[in-house]
Symmetry: C2
Subunit: 339 residues, 2 copies
DNA sequence: CCTGGCACTCGGCGCGGCGGAGTGCCAATC
DNA sequence: GATTGGCACTCCGCCGCGCCGAGTGCCAGG
């Protein structure tokens, strides 16, 4: 009994089940795939695969269904990545190229991915922490408020208002603005803290508290994981005809509304050698997502990713296609942001 | 046969149906409500109500169900607005008061409303057009770019970059900033165009093209309806236990993803005397939303609303409660924004 | 180690009968 | 003339039954 063929059988089971959404039996399996052996032989292999926990049967005397473990093995052995057709590529590129600003790029990307995969797409906004700063602006609003505007090289703009105990000295603001920008230009937010602290010393004693507060706001802004926004599209795809989910899709929708959780999940996911991360079923410990799988990868930035993009669907999804789509969109997205 | 009682019967039918989600018959109706008449009498009234198109029966010899027209009459005659309990009020207020900035306020509001109504909540971001300007900031970025930052009194911040053919004269920027702010302070964007045009004349001939371009950007920004963002929460509530929707919730989810359509719908809705707008079932011509009702109202601004907030659910919703909740959240939201 | 054969299991489906909730109508009553 | 009790009728939903087919596990033979 060759291990080789058993893997082949698992592969066939996964593919058939993904396509038909029904437990697959030994007879239909040999009919559809050129396995070169009889149903009886396949049955033996199936028994072994079940013993090892890769497949299971919903009821006695029913066909087999892959388990999470089975999908995992399948995905790990998945060597060939489906190449996209070249019209498909062109469509992606053109669609994204028409975007007018960062919001538009992200919006288009997430919709596109949802459309391609027919699943739920999730895109994290380019992270502030790993982006480089283009400019820092201070605007007095009234006489006890200061608006801090942070502009990154990915085109993202973030702002915070700062309430002050006492009026801001008119003259300090332009100077602070100039010095801050000098200290900050082109640096990534994660690399900042030290230069800023030194800068404080250049100001007269009296102004230092104010300077410290402004610096504090900038630091807080970058520290706040809350500010990591994500956008989502394709929720409607969860409710597709086939009864994809056991009970309702409610728990899934609930989980998806918790952006914080989703964000953590997305960033936690470890990428494999090919740069794509896959979480299958119960590998997602998040409540409500244990019946779903997530395919994600990073985008933007050379070498180190600036944010992540992913697709979420039922564990029984077309992994090969999803991986291809996620990679493709991530690649074009990176290109657009860099250009 | 008093018209008075017929209305009472309709009322009872709507209330029972909303609660039980099942067609309601004459017997159970008299048992649950103190109508003071016999089932037979109610049956006569029902026949009349059906004749007039306010109710219908799913199958012969089944109970009655309100039609869209029935709900409409019910809502129009709905005089008493359910007052919220005072713990409920306090909870709303505290929850919203803890918000740290505009994004947070909007986010909290939409979640809160979804939670209260157990439906889908939608909040439109404070509109630029109807907000008053607090401050206008010009920031040179590089020597051929100008960043225009627009800050409104609702706390919203919008920015645009402006590419220039020739370098900006260093000195013009501060002057332009000062003059613009003088011309603009406290005015609503819709009221602007004329004062800005006059202002151009105050600059030396050479600088006028630049001034005109900046003004142009400000005007464009306010003209772009695209910039009207909305946020949504509570999609999971659509998938509640009871089989609320005929087929699936898919068409509804799809419609909700089309923010542009949703936005148009929200702004089109005409408010009644009490300031709340209700669209019932097929009154929503939007595809996918013909089985849902929407309750919406404006918020922010004195007299004239600055943006809208609403709740969407199955036609069979608790209108009285939903209206109360929408009004309450809108009121507190307005208060927060004003303070 | 593979294969064909065989007995067994079990879920899904269609059918028929039943009960209950509800209606519509009619004649009697106030 | 509105209201009411009575009565016959309708129809949906539910339950139990039996069949069929797909699928399995095992065994003996190649």
């Amino acid at each position: 009994m060759s291990d080789e063929r058993r893997l082949e059988v698992l592969r066939a089971i996964v593919e058939d089940y993904v396509q038909t959404r029904e437990p697959v039996g030994s007879r239909t399996l040999v009919e559809r795939h050129r396995l070169g052996v009889s149903p009886a032989t396949v049955r033996n292999d199936m028994a072994a695969l079940e013993e090892a926990g890769f497949i299971a049967q919903p009821h006695t005397s029913a066909g087999r269904v892959p388990t999470d473990k089975g999908y995992r093995l399948f995905v790990d052995r998945l060597s060939a990545i489906k190449p996209l057709s070249s019209p498909e590529r062109r469509a992606i590129q053109h669609f994204l190229e028409d975007a007018v600003d960062l919001d538009d790029v992200v919006d288009r990307s997430v919709r596109l991915l949802a459309q391609l995969t027919q699943q739920v797409a999730v895109v994290q906004y380019p992270s502030l922490r790993r982006s480089a700063l283009r400019h820092l602006e201070l605007v007095p609003v009234g006489d006890r408020r200061l608006l801090v505007v942070i502009i990154t090289d990915t085109g993202r703009v973030e702002q915070r208002t700062l309430d002050l105990q006492e009026p801001v000295p008119e003259l300090v603001v332009p100077e602070l603005r100039a010095r801050l920008n000098a200290a900050v230009a082109g640096r990534r937010l994660v690399d900042l803290p030290e230069p800023l602290e030194q800068m404080t010393l250049a100001f007269p004693e009296a102004d230092r508290p104010l300077v410290r507060r402004v610096i504090r706001v900038v630091e807080d802004t970058l520290a706040e994981a809350t500010e990591e926004r994500i956008v989502m599209a394709g929720a409607a795809n969860l409710a597709r005809s086939g009864t994809d989910f056991p009970g309702t899709i409610r728990p899934v929708l609930e989980a998806l509304e918790e952006q914080v959780v989703l964000l953590r999940l997305l960033t936690e996911m470890a990428e494999d050698s090919a740069g794509v991360a896959v979480r299958i079923g119960h590998e997602n410990t998040v409540e409500g997502l244990t019946e779903t799988s997530i395919v994600a990868t990073g985008y933007g930035g050379d070498g180190e990713a600036v944010a992540r993009i992913g697709s979420l669907g039922p564990t029984r999804m077309d992994y090969a296609a999803t991986i291809a789509h996620v990679r493709a969109v991530a690649r074009y997205l990176s290109r657009i942001l860099a250009g």
